[in-house]
């Protein structure tokens, strides 16, 4: 059974903290994505990566960075968490031209 696993389902952090969200996939996929999901806004792409050490900005990269040191792992970093980054974060992976497989999501609350 193919899997995309996110390290936490729920996370509460304080304003100004550095936050790491981890995502691991076991399908040897080239592409990995981080989305943010907010009510009424759907899924918005933060960053994506098409290869190890490669990254591209999505539609809303401000306040975020990413790291992909290994093919199976894609990390999202909030350099200094703010309350407006409270949201659901979804990680996904895909092969080239294939469907996206999603993790279970991380509900992040910044207080």
């Amino acid at each position: 059974d193919v899997k995309v696993t996110q390290s936490s389902r729920y996370l509460v952090k304080r304003t100004g903290e550095k936050v790491f969200l981890e995502c691991v996939q076991d399908m040897d996929h080239e592409n990995m994505f981080w989305y943010r999901q907010d009510p009424g806004l759907g899924l918005r792409l933060i960053y994506f990566s098409y290869d190890v050490k490669m990254k591209e900005k999505g539609d809303i990269p401000e306040g975020y960075s990413v790291s992909r040191e290994k093919k199976e792992r894609f990390s999202l970093i909030l350099e200094s968490a703010s309350t407006n980054q409270t949201s659901m974060y979804l990680c996904a992976s895909s092969s080239l031209g294939g469907e996206a497989f999603f993790g279970q999501g991380t509900r992040l609350t910044v207080v």
């Binding site: 080239e30 009424g40 918005r44 031209g97």
Partner: protein, 116 residues
């Protein structure tokens, strides 16, 4: 820029009835893929159905089928014999080739509730 529009934020349907969820998209590309994803209350997003733009035949997966109108840029999802387990958020998505790889653009979603 490509966009995906789902104009129905919420819908409800009686169990065993049929419901259609709407999706329109905007693109200048000729080759692309379209998807419907389902996100049940437990949050794991899963693929429902996929359509390649070069195929004229509408995709079907058991009770789920699409009405793909390429000229009109419309991609609706029909759920037949609705079941309580179909209650979920449904997202329409467009996949495009960009920067040497593929990106997915999602609509804002339709929350479907199946009523007993």
């Amino acid at each position: 820029a490509q966009t995906v529009t789902q104009s129905q934020p919420e819908m409800s349907v009686q169990e065993a009835e049929t419901v259609t969820l709407s999706c329109t998209y905007d693109t200048s590309e000729s080759n692309y893929y379209l998807f419907w994803y389902k996100q049940p209350p437990s949050r794991q997003m899963i693929l429902v159905i996929r359509q390649e733009a070069y195929k004229q035949q509408n995709a079907t997966e058991n009770r789920f089928s699409v009405n793909f109108q390429k000229a009109a840029k419309s991609f609706s999802l029909k759920i037949s014999d609705s079941q309580l387990g179909d209650t979920a958020m449904y997202f329409c998505a467009f996949m495009k080739h960009d920067s040497g790889t593929y990106k997915y653009i999602f609509g804002t979603g339709t929350r479907l509730k199946v009523l007993a």
